[in-house]
Symmetry: C2
Subunit: 362 residues, 2 copies
């Protein structure tokens, strides 16, 4: 989508030098717009680990390019796969993309051919992600259109949590794709953007996206959505997911479950937008089976923002000696999810619904 009026993807191979992959540094948004060079597989591991890139689909594409850079740097592909897989535990797209790369060069021995194949396949994974995001948007658009008609053209208020925007994918996003599509079609939309502590991807990234694209939005603390729902100020919620089980449980950024409870309590539709690559076909019970990442307590204790002098500055928010716990994700049980918006259409958040769209997975 657009940044400063120019169309960007989140990751690309540098023009004129295909030994360098470039990505938007998401750690310094929204205050600075910087591009980083990823020259080695380790650079991509670091980019994933340090959240220069984040969001399940983008992590997958980054890992795909990481595999390419590994062979370009004469590294062992299996070892590269291993360290990429270990860089973030929750996102299933990561393992999927790494595996796609391993498969594509299976049996090949010529280094040049392996490199070419890995690059080509990374491009393919990237392009497919754009198509998936676009299709999610086209399907989700119908829900917003319907709501807009029900409201006789009045503004549709949508709540979203964290960033499942184009910055989490390559373009369009997942949860935001229906919103971008509605906006481009001239439907009046307004988005409540959960700031999404501790890393504030809503305030940093989703708000940045919407600002740059001109989509009306208001940032709120994560505590606020329930109140807004109680008072008819939210028409629907659309969030992303890092992993969905076949019974329709969804792991997403910590706090999603709380918003789903509030939506349910107030009879507000709660949708989860996802590429089918984030469905884990092997597991049912999200609460019991999805591994949940615990991150550094410093992400809770410190926060970065722009100080008065214009510099990015980290400040301590808590007593120095207090402990903090930083759980990255929670699981929203399927019973609270109104529907899943996928690249193949919208379905109920249960086995029957999912298999209706993805019958080949039965």
């Amino acid at each position: 989508m657009k940044v400063n009026g120019q169309h960007y993807h989140t990751i690309w191979v540098k023009e004129g030098d295909d030994s360098i992959v470039q990505a938007i540094d998401q750690r310094v948004l929204p205050h600075q717009f910087e591009i980083v060079d990823l020259k080695t597989c380790n650079d991509t591991v670091t980019a994933i680990k340090d959240m220069i890139v984040r969001g399940a689909p983008l992590i997958g594409v980054t890992a795909a390019y990481g595999m390419y850079l590994a062979v370009l740097g004469n590294e062992n592909l299996q070892e590269a796969a291993q360290k990429l897989n270990a860089s973030r535990p929750t996102a299933i797209n990561l393992a999927w993309a790494v595996n796609e790369q391993l498969k594509t060069v299976e049996g090949l021995s010529d280094r040049g051919e392996v490199i070419a194949k890995l690059l080509e396949n990374a491009h393919r994974i990237k392009t497919e992600d754009i198509v998936i995001s676009r299709k999610i948007g086209e399907h989700g658009l119908s829900l917003i259109e319907e709501m807009s008609q029900n409201k006789k053209g009045e503004t549709v208020n949508i709540l979203t949590h964290c960033n499942a925007g184009w910055l989490a994918t390559i373009d369009w996003g997942t949860a935001t794709s229906p919103i971008y599509h509605a906006f481009e079609k001239g439907i009046k939309v307004h988005v409540w953007v959960d700031e999404t502590r501790p890393r504030n991807q809503g305030a940093n990234l989703t708000a940045f996206e919407f600002n740059q694209h001109g989509i009306p939005h208001t940032i709120i603390s994560d505590n606020t959505g329930g109140h807004l729902m109680q008072h008819g100020m939210v028409d629907m919620a659309i969030v992303g997911t890092d992993r969905t089980t076949i019974q329709g449980d969804v792991a997403n950024k910590i706090g999603t479950y709380l918003k789903a409870l509030a939506a349910y309590d107030n009879n507000i539709p709660f949708y989860v937008a996802l590429p089918s690559t984030s469905i884990d076909w092997d597991i049912k019970d999200g609460l019991k089976e999805i591994p949940i990442e615990t991150r550094s307590e410093n992400e809770v204790k410190y926060i970065q923002g722009k100080a008065e002098n214009g510099k990015l500055t980290k400040v301590l928010l808590t007593p120095e000696s207090s402990n903090a716990l930083n759980v990255g994700f929670d699981v929203t049980p399927a019973r609270l999810v109104t529907g899943l918006i996928t690249e193949r259409g919208i379905c109920n958040a249960n086995k029957e619904g999912i298999f209706q769209l993805f019958s080949e997975k039965k």
Copy 2:
């Protein structure tokens, strides 16, 4: 309670000079411990408005001293009452304390006598608040004791939101009072402290209190409680309230409703601790009848913390031009509240329960 090993109240008349009221400046906690002088009624209005002091009971006591300082400064008492009442819209204790002061000097004309009466009555209101907090603690203690016995002496994990601690009252606190009492009785407790965006009173104040008093605690983002409850890591929640209706609906810091939903969904007891002064006997339906304060969007967009150079620094967290909405409170419907812990005992969150303890209000 204790700060640096010394026993403090949140507000007091300066030793040796009773024309000055002193209070802990809660805006710079937990990084700095500073005392401010309040010399005029306007100083107390500012202290309430700027949240140098906050928390319903402490606001009430501050307003009571504000009335005293008004007459000491030759101000009109009615006008003082008016501006104090206007300083924060949600807290009912404020209007109550101001009214108590008006009543105490009704019919008196001698200025010296009025001053003496107002000071004496402010002291009385303050002392009564300490007693109320202590009693809330004694009653609430029984719930923690019972939970501890059920867990065979294992640590009782309690979640709290915002700061309903001694810093919100004069001493002991409301939601924290049962915790302090349990701790002093040697019961093993651990508290999950919601940081409570946007003003982070949990991370700034509750964590400061517990740190100074030695109570085991862990700070979490407001998004985290639902996940902890899903995984059996919370035994009970205790929160405060700014206003409770006679049907047991409670207004409290924004986000309380979300935690109550999660507690209900996971069958975890959710208690609200309150002095009866925060019961609004005139209203029933909290969602419809409690006025909710909207505060400056800058409290969402900016946050203060301690920078590496040791200085308190404000940083911008959002795109400069994004809007934010800052709703101060939400209302938790009585159906989600397990019980109210008051100075007279514990009751169900409904009219029958409340009138059982406060039959004179029928």
